[in-house]
Symmetry: C2
Subunit: 552 residues, 2 copies
């Protein structure tokens, strides 16, 4: 567009270059699928062959991309709807968030069901776009196609190789689906590798054909992108008018873009679980929910993607440049990993395989550089900054888990002297909650003690007298508190008990009220909270809440 | 203003009516101060003489007013600054919030210190305003005062009694300080009642004089309120020009308004503590902080007032109508309570005292009606709606505390059968954290049991083998979990243990990691949290976290 009418003759060559790149990447990944049958995402391949750091870089790039895929695909799906029904333009943020919530919900219900939900729209998309492209090409070949009256854009800048490469970079986002397949091999029916490879091949052929077809039609019709209408919408409208088929095309575009978002909902939680398994991410991401879904990952992905939609007010075109960089960084690392793999493991026909992956690594590496350079000021720099930040996060988590594992090692078993435990019941007032705590404490220790902090000397006699009725022989130790402080005297007394002998543990028993309604929580347990907070980082102190369930 | 130039001759009569009202209220309250030497706020007086409901209505009205006083006074103080320095107009929200934070901080430091901080500005205000009024009146009497060139406002509506009463209502906000003194008697030096009465008298005289003086000057100079400059600012500027004294006036106005906000910081927490003592508010409001300040009340008041400043973007004129209603509702209830007090208690000269408070009750009751009617659509309706809501809240809290007191009563002591306690150590993995929890559990019970939920059968053998190294004879009970659920089998087992005998308590011992940095909390204790959440409302289950302090 920037280079004007003079550049439109490059539309088809650039399209062909992208289709060629798709072929190279698809071929390279065919080999990865067979070499890593239990899942061959870039993180796995790069980590296994190149080491931890390149693996983590690939992982960081992919996590960013999964989030961007969801936001951009959903925003584009919403754009297909608003092209057909402009009245909805003002609701695009809400529509986007609703779509994301719906996909997240489908995924939390489980993989099997979501597979079924998503098959029909895929076939619908392939069918309607097949008809669109076939009709268009046939009419073009028979000379029946007249260019639209849209004027070719005026050149605002000279046509340079830089611009050509930038157009090429923009198109490269079409390739992101490849990584999703190789990362998700275990989700296929057995034989997993073979089925994944077949799917990848079909995807490359269908995607390549439709992409080239649309490119040729756009050139033949002289369509250029408009603010309020997508290219596909313009082509479909000029071929079929505003009839039923036009709305079918727009509808299936929306659905397929929503499904494109869905691939991230498989990939993101799975990659996070791999990182968590290797101790680079919080352990809870390895937890499968009741329906065998990594629920934490699904929720976080949905939240981040929805946040981007809201922040960018549904206009996520700006994010597209960010997203090609990430994919190609991970492609390059994965392919380089495969080159190393063949050099190390050899095996039948390894020279040919080496050559295929070598070409793949070289081409994707080159494309990475092209995208990073031509799109740097368009936002690619954000990814370049973000990846190291995320990788440092992974490494910090890893270091922490490693040092915890060391501290928890049973090699330290000999260090443990026997434990002397003193059980103290904290008494603020003498009531049935305290009595319950006292009876409980009596089961824990032969000689528990009760402790009362005297903040108001006038009350002490009364408390002691009531204690006499319930004590069962447990002594009430009164701690004076000249400054009305509750915590100070208690902490001093704990110190004193711990000095009575080595490896001394003090167990503080506190009654805790469990109210029946949420707002009643605000009316209780303030002292217990205060004591727990003050003792959290004290060593050798265990606080036990004895629940007292309120009936009303 | 609405009635135009024709109405300006009413400025002074309306001002006189307000000053007269101030005199009536101050006289009535003199008697309250002596009758209730330990604090005679409307809540106390109404509750003691009229019953709980009128007391709570007075309390709700006052709490609303304290919050409004802070917001409105601080906003007006900021307006005095921006009248003098218009460049600050765009920062008024920030200025307001900073002032509130500063007052709250001074109050959290303690009453004595804040008294000292606030004495100087008060004397400065009285001195500067005294000079302003005296100079102005002298020049007016000597005929040296020329009206400002501001045109008198054009009448936009007819002058009616309704409008006159509305102007009167607006002025009535000047009286709010009276309640603060009678509510705060204990804060005075002994003899408290006498000192409070002297203060109240001086306040009424000074306030009345300055108020009337400013009213007369405004009329003489023909000043009318402007958007961007206060009346006092206009008077001071026309009398003294833009010199040092003008800035002194504006500065001391700001300071005194900030101090007006400060009276709420004494009154609000004290009233809340009285309500909490009577079980109408959460108990923690009775807690004095280390510096004998009801810190919770101070923090809540500051938060609410700052919220209003932010919500209204520093333009809190809209709140002024709300705030006269509250004060006069509480005046009326307090005076009516005093009438009842004299009728019941009699005592020397009770007939005269009855007459004084009767007149007070009648006048303030009338003013309440006038304000509620004339300001109803200006926002007074909000207070009329809010008071019952708050009172219902007080009553709900009261009912809850009463029923808890009943459940906690030692009368139920006989119901307690002896407790059978079974201690279970929850094992997820065998590491030093679990070993520490196990050693602790051994001090609590003679025969603790360890429980392991088998979510992955492949790990069980390995866990059992490692358990053998640390068990010390404690048996490891393996619970199978066909659906990988952690909680289900555990809950079933707890049921089973509790069925083993009557009054059975199960104590679950869990290791809890205490990390050194906040972000590391996200990496630990997920299972412990899950278990605690699931067991919170189960009766007869106590969860004990045994802390394991991480060193790195």
């Amino acid at each position: 567009m920037l280079a004007g009418a003079a550049a439109t003759h490059l539309t088809v060559p650039v399209g062909l270059a992208i289709a060629g790149l798709l072929a190279v990447v698809a071929l390279s990944y065919q080999q990865t699928l067979h070499a890593y049958p239990s899942g061959g995402g870039s993180y796995i391949v790069a980590r296994a062959n190149l080491g931890a750091a390149p693996g983590l870089v690939a992982a960081a790039a992919l996590l960013i991309d999964y989030v961007l895929t969801v936001s951009v695909s959903v925003a584009a799906g919403v754009a297909a709807i608003t092209s057909a029904a402009p009245v909805l333009l003002s609701h695009k943020v809400v529509l986007g968030v609703v779509f994301i919530a719906a996909i997240a919900f489908a995924n939390l219900r489980g993989v099997r069901e979501s597979g079924r939900v998503f098959a029909l729209p895929t076939y619908l998309f392939i069918a309607t776009f097949g008809v669109l492209v076939a009709t268009g090409i046939l009419r073009w070949l028979s000379g029946d196609l007249r260019p639209l009256p849209t004027p070719p854009p005026a050149a605002t800048t000279a046509l340079t190789w830089f611009l050509v490469l930038r157009a090429f970079s923009s198109g490269c986002t079409a390739l992101t689906g490849v990584e999703a397949i190789s990362n998700g091999i275990p989700a296929f029916k057995p034989p997993e590798s073979r089925n994944a490879a077949i799917t990848l091949a079909w995807m490359a052929v269908i995607l390549g054909t439709l992409f080239l077809g649309i490119t040729v039609l756009a050139r033949a019709l002289g369509v250029i992108p408009a603010e309020d209408e997508t290219i596909v919408s313009q082509i479909a409208r000029s071929l079929f008018g505003d009839g039923l088929f036009y709305f079918l095309i727009q509808g299936s575009t929306t659905l397929i873009l929503v499904l494109a978002a869905n691939t991230s909902f498989a990939g993101f939680p799975r990659l996070f679980s791999l990182l968590a398994r290797d101790r680079y991410a919080p352990r809870q991401f390895t937890t499968l929910g009741d329906r065998l879904v990594f629920s934490n990952g699904v929720v976080i992905l949905a939240a981040l993607a929805a946040l981007l939609i809201v922040l960018f007010r549904g206009e996520t075109h700006a994010l597209i440049p960010l997203y090609a960089v990430g994919v190609f960084i991970s492609f390059t690392l994965s392919q380089s990993g495969m080159v190393r793999h063949w050099l190390t493991h050899k095996g039948g026909g390894w020279r040919v395989r080496l050559a295929v992956n070598g070409v793949g690594a070289l081409v994707t590496g080159l494309v990475t550089v092209v995208i990073a350079v031509t799109k740097f000021t368009n936002g690619a720099w954000i990814v370049v900054v973000l990846i190291p930040v995320i990788v440092l996060g992974f490494l910090a988590i890893h270091r922490h888990y490693e040092s915890v594992a060391d501290e928890l090692s049973l090699d330290r078993l000999a260090d443990q002297p026997p434990v002397r435990n003193t059980v103290l019941v904290l008494v603020g007032d003498v009531h049935m909650g305290v009595v319950k705590a006292l009876r409980f404490a009596e089961t824990l220790a032969d000689r528990p003690r009760a402790v009362f902090v005297e903040t108001d000397p006038a009350r002490t006699g009364w408390v002691e007298q009531r204690w006499g009725k319930v004590s069962g022989g447990v002594p009430l130790i009164v701690l004076t508190s000249p400054y009305r402080s509750m915590l100070g005297p208690l902490l001093d007394y704990i110190d004193q008990v711990q000095r009575e002998g080595p490896n001394s543990v003090v167990t503080i028993v506190i009654p805790e009220f469990i109210p029946r309604r949420w707002w009643q929580h605000l009316l209780h347990n303030q002292t217990a909270l205060l004591v727990k907070g003050a003792l959290l980082f004290r060593r050798g102190v265990v606080v036990v809440d004895v629940p007292f369930h309120l009936n009303r």
